[in-house]
Subunit: 116 residues, 2 copies
């Protein structure tokens, strides 16, 4: 049976919806990636976050190779159904660069600077 969140979600033309991952207990915004109906269903059934990789064109089980998995604590759908918020428990760094989150470039008056 299709979970109601998949019915309510407004996917884009590629069948994808943006998903924001946030560390559930600290509020740290970790990353934003994309999900399709299949990856939402898998995330809900396994409790481990699974995205859809646009570059590889296939499911992306977060941490499958790195071990940097995300346990799904809670999933939320926004008011108009076109964005998901995933409250997660992140193991290790979330970013493929090794940074704890992906938002480590701060915009300054005239440039970008890396923050820890």
């Amino acid at each position: 049976m299709t979970h109601p969140v998949i019915t309510a979600a407004r996917f884009n033309e590629a069948g994808l919806i943006p998903a924001i991952a946030q560390q559930h207990d600290t509020g740290e915004v970790l990353m934003m990636a994309w999900m399709n109906a299949e990856s939402i269903a898998e995330s809900l059934s396994t409790g481990q976050v699974c995205y859809f990789s646009r570059s590889r064109g296939k499911l992306w089980r977060k941490g499958e190779s790195s071990g940097h998995v995300q346990r799904l604590v809670e999933m939320r759908l926004d008011c108009d159904g076109d964005t998901l918020l995933l409250l997660v428990e992140q193991t290790g760094p979330a970013c493929h660069t090794g940074a704890h989150n992906c938002f480590f470039r701060r915009v300054t008056k005239d440039g970008l600077e890396e923050i820890a």
Copy 2:
């Protein structure tokens, strides 16, 4: 002069980039909307967040009619340049429904439930 964040940003085919708004002092994720080069430049110069409304096809100065403005505290660009994180000071509710943030629908085992 074009700000380096606009040069570094990877806009989609419609010239847009997703932007996550987060209350800077509480970590509450408020909403996700879209920005283009022009709205990024205006946000940086005025210090008030300006998005691009896809449905109306024009700049959307957040709170222009409702007064629910977002003062831009800090802007960050993610590791691969395709998502922005906006740390903001939100005045009033962020969501057009009047909810404080847009993520008020929690996914349950078999449905969606509204949370305060």
